[in-house]
Symmetry: C2
Subunit: 633 residues, 2 copies
């Protein structure tokens, strides 16, 4: 049998780093987002998402407001709320979720159709424009919410609504051709298949995947030209077939292109389907794209999407730091994709990618207080130009309280609230530990708990609570050069296999496995084809990528450099906004500045102290510049 995820209700996170962040979700972010959706946060960007549902149910009058995919904000919030209820029972939240679900039920049409935009505003245009309409996208998110409420909170009402919705979609699209303009329904249908066991939903997901790119002109031929079927104020060109990856059959794709989130949602569903069916062609396509993205098109923080132009991938090695798109949703989706790849085979590269995204690009999408969010996650911020000058306008130096296109905040919330899903998996004879995140898990081989000082310290202790014969396979992140392992105090040597250290034995209750490893500061260099990082170094320690912020430096960040021989010291902070965080201190150099724009004198430098903070924590103090890559001298 294949490796399988250990479901959320069998995992409890007990981690010094992540538990407070989950509490932030349950106590701050998810309630805050609900207020946003109800338009109860003064000064924040208007949402109107709940009102759209009230209107669709005929219980409120007025105009639909927001993106054509505004419903998905509610769906993602409901999914996050489901995980929140699993983390922390809350009767009041539960009641509000129930109310929201019944409201959604009242919006559902007799045939199962569910979408507020088309119900309120253009009922005549249902399913008329798959390129732009996002109906399948919203349905996919709603189905994910339905499955989450069922699995995490034991609530089935939305699942039932979503089954009717999914049946409506299957009825229509099993007969006629249709390709989702924004991939997502495929994820929802796969999850519904896992939750119900009904293969119809998997088959529908596969049909959507396999139709894509078969006829590269499909969107050109099937997108209506009438002005009354353009739904948003954005314009997606049917001719731009690479944008939504519909130019080549998905099994033949080799290079990530076009809109990053579309690409990654597609890969997330492909990996899920491939793990389920064992389809070698599909697996190979997932692997090729995983390699292309992680080895050619990914920022060192895990961010992807090199251009704001259509939020897209560009070309191999085109990774400009200061115009980075790096949408938070794309990093969340990278985590989904990596997680689903682990169900195909337990390869440490997938767990490495989850770790990279969780501790860096995805986490940076939110402020430490859980109330402000980045859509775009740059690697260089220069406040003289970022957010101001054309080409940099999307690079906001400050996290806003909300966004007109609010896909990212609830996406991050559902990821963090459901983090338990990503830690462990199992097969007949093995329990896999993917991440050093303190937790308790119930496996088919009994209960196991784990404690870890990660990401600040290099250790973890696993306790086996029940006996049994199985292998414990511990993922060894690729940055660890040597891991020392003890079982009940005695050194052992595990078998390294695809990034996992396998300890196969007959375990007894109370057995303890302790792993220890050094976390030296690493100087990371990029491939020389990445023009932007030539001559530069990024710092990392353990899973964390670091950055410099101008608040810690007198000099402009572009004028400081880190000598190759400089010693770098890890300094753990116990006070201030960054309390609990390990910073890095080094003796750097800064230029003695000439006033002239160009001069031909030799560069002169003087010593200065450099302070680096974890990338996820940037932008939480004084407004200013930031850079991940620093000149290395």
């Amino acid at each position: 049998m294949s490796i399988r995820e250990i479901p959320l209700n069998k995992v409890r996170i007990t981690d010094a780093f992540w538990s407070p962040r989950q509490r932030l979700m349950t106590d701050v972010t998810i309630p805050y987002m609900e207020k946003i959706l109800r338009d109860e946060v003064p000064g924040a960007e208007k949402s109107h998402a709940i009102s759209n549902f009230s209107m669709a149910a005929g219980e409120e009058t007025g105009e639909f407001y927001g993106m054509v995919f505004q419903d998905s904000d509610v769906a993602k919030w409901l999914e996050a709320a489901a995980y929140s209820l699993a983390l922390k029972p809350d009767k009041e939240l539960e009641a509000r979720v129930d109310d929201m679900v019944t409201l959604i039920g009242r919006c559902q049409q007799p045939d199962g159709y569910l979408n507020t935009y088309f119900t309120v505003k253009e009922p005549q245009n249902r399913w008329a424009n798959l390129l732009e309409c996002h109906e399948l996208y919203c349905a996919g998110h709603m189905i994910e919410a339905g499955v989450a409420l069922h699995e995490a909170a034991g609530k089935d009402e939305l699942l039932r609504i979503c089954i009717r919705l999914a049946d409506h979609i299957c009825d229509r699209f099993m007969q006629e051709e249709g390709i989702p303009g924004h991939q997502e329904i495929e994820i929802g249908l796969m999850r519904l298949y896992h939750a119900t066991g009904n293969t119809k939903y998997r088959d529908m997901a596969l049909r959507f995947l396999d139709l894509r790119g078969k006829n590269p002109d499909w969107f050109i031929q099937h997108t209506p030209k009438h002005p009354d079927t353009h739904y948003g104020d954005y314009d997606i060109l049917p001719e731009d077939t690479a944008y939504n990856q519909s130019d080549v059959p998905v099994r033949e794709q080799t290079v990530a292109r076009g809109h990053a989130v579309r690409q990654l949602y597609m890969l997330t569903a492909m990996a899920d389907a491939a793990a389920d069916t064992g389809d070698a062609e599909l697996i190979a396509a997932c692997d090729r794209l995983f390699d292309n993205i992680t080895q050619k098109q990914m920022y060192v923080t895990g961010a992807v999407g090199s251009t704001a132009h259509r939020e897209s991938f560009t070309m191999d090695y085109d990774l400009p730091s200061d115009r980075c798109y790096g949408e938070t949703c794309a990093s969340v989706a990278m985590t989904f994709f990596a997680h689903n790849m682990l169900a195909i085979k337990p390869d440490g590269r997938y767990a490495d990618l989850m770790e990279l995204e969780l501790y860096n690009a995805a986490l940076a999408g939110m402020s430490l207080d859980g109330k402000r969010f980045f859509y775009v996650n740059p690697l260089t911020v220069d406040t003289r130009v970022s957010g101001i000058v054309p080409g940099y306008k999307h690079v906001l130096p400050r996290r806003p309280a909300w966004h007109a296109c609010a896909c990212c905040p609830p996406n991050l919330a559902r990821l963090i609230a459901s983090l338990g899903k990503y830690l462990w998996s199992e097969d007949e004879d093995t329990v896999y530990s993917h991440l050093f995140i303190g937790s308790e898990v119930e496996t088919r081989h009994g209960r196991i708990s784990m404690e870890s000082g990660y990401p600040w310290a290099g250790n973890a202790t696993y306790t086996i609570h029940d006996g049994g014969t199985f292998a414990l396979a511990i993922h060894v992140p690729q940055h660890i050069k040597e891991m020392r392992i003890n079982v009940n105090g005695a050194g052992v040597i595990g078998i390294m296999q695809e990034g996992y250290c396998r300890l196969q034995r007959t375990w007894h209750s109370g057995d303890q496995v302790t792993v220890q490893f050094d976390m030296p500061v690493r100087r990371i260099h990029a491939h020389p084809h990445v023009r932007d990082t030539a001559g530069k170094v990024a710092l990392a320690r353990g899973p964390l990528v670091y950055c410099l912020e101008s608040v810690d430096h007198e000099s402009t960040l572009a004028e400081v450099s880190l000598p190759q021989a400089a010693r770098i010291e890890a300094v753990h902070l116990s006070a201030g906004i960054l309390a609990g965080i390990t910073t890095l201190h080094a003796d750097g150099l800064t230029l003695i500045t000439s006033d002239r724009l160009y001069h031909s004198e030799p560069r002169r430098q003087k010593p200065c102290q450099l302070i680096a903070v974890p990338y996820f924590a940037w932008g939480n103090r004084q407004f200013g510049d930031m850079c991940v890559w620093t000149l290395e001298k």
Copy 2:
């Protein structure tokens, strides 16, 4: 009295570097452009500019084609042709110019109005939309052509036409308010004033300048909203008042903003008017903007305009090499501006700027064979992205044969063909030599000739052909650390004054002044606020900025570096496409490439030879990458 330009017909260029380039203009480029304007070059972008005039004269039927300012291509070509006739009498060209001028005359309306677009296509909308219509812009260029034909070729027909046109403009705009949407008429009117002595034209130019920005909402209030008065397929927003520098009175402007060519044409006219009137406020504004541009917003090649977005200046120190706009027209206009500043005061900084533009950013706008042209002049070309990826699409790695918006080629042609104007000026007691370009000049103090090995060798010899008491003031480019001066073989010491070495004496016929100076290779560093060039060096020798091209290197240009201690050797080439050019050879380093996108091994390097060629000569050999800035180790 103030310093004054020595007119073109009193200067003859006899220079080993520039004379062949002027011959290229007379023999290749100007005839080639005429063919383009007549649509006789197969495969080149359609022009239709001459046909537009034939239609306006009622002698051809069909549709107006091209930009609303297509007439200006003809005007700039006529101006270049005028200079060509001065360089090289050519009866056939003269006859064709005469024909073209009479055609233009037949297009002129009874009231003096002259513009083919509005005559052919929208006669009802004459002067209705100054923001976008470019009627004043085209008029300015036509007036420049009329003055050039009068001054350089002794032909007055177009001047008469332009006087009627200018009178029509004065009649209208001396009465009612009007602000040119694209500055240029101001330059034309100032030149017409110089040519005719009629102060009305100067006053009209000053009125246009001084109205600008007085009411910052002028364009918002005076741009019609009717769809039938939008003339081009571009859209200029009246609200974007910084774009055409109409948000602040010109005398109060401090920082270059908006469309670079508009800004620089305005400054060219302002400097001309300021030199004539001695208006201290106007002079101060010119000086402030000169300083801002050259010390904050100019690329090391002399290019300006940091963003393709509206072809604009952006912010101080925002100078990305790979997305540079650096329009050829802007560098031509920088030369005009610097030249006119010299009429205010002989300050070497202005001559330095002329030198920088002429030998670098402007000259690079044309291929060595004179038939292909850049609109955009980048400092980094990476053919994997340049011209392809959004944000880099404007950065063409190859000079096209022509452009849909063809402002640049004829602008460069008129500059090079009239280069004689830029070399010398004089006042009552001084003859100023601004550039080391071999030439003969007739001054009020008699005939002087000069020979120079520039830009390849550091020498010049001035011969005084008539006697007299005056100062010879020789501009010492700022890159010269020490200039050795001999008069008739004996060393002398001149008085340095604002960048000019003044030799005041009573000269005798046959006196010779010889100057010699070293031209070591210079390592240029940029101000540390320029993020793009951090850790990088540019090479220059004499007036020339150099660049690396991939055709000379095995490694990708981003992976090579130049050690601080590396010796750099000048190697003069005698064969190949670059024959006659001095290249630079140095022992560099190149990275030993890892295949991984990110790794934490130390950088390893191996020796490699670096070859740099003058920037103006790039892109004339094999298609490939280019960079001006190289990592310095």
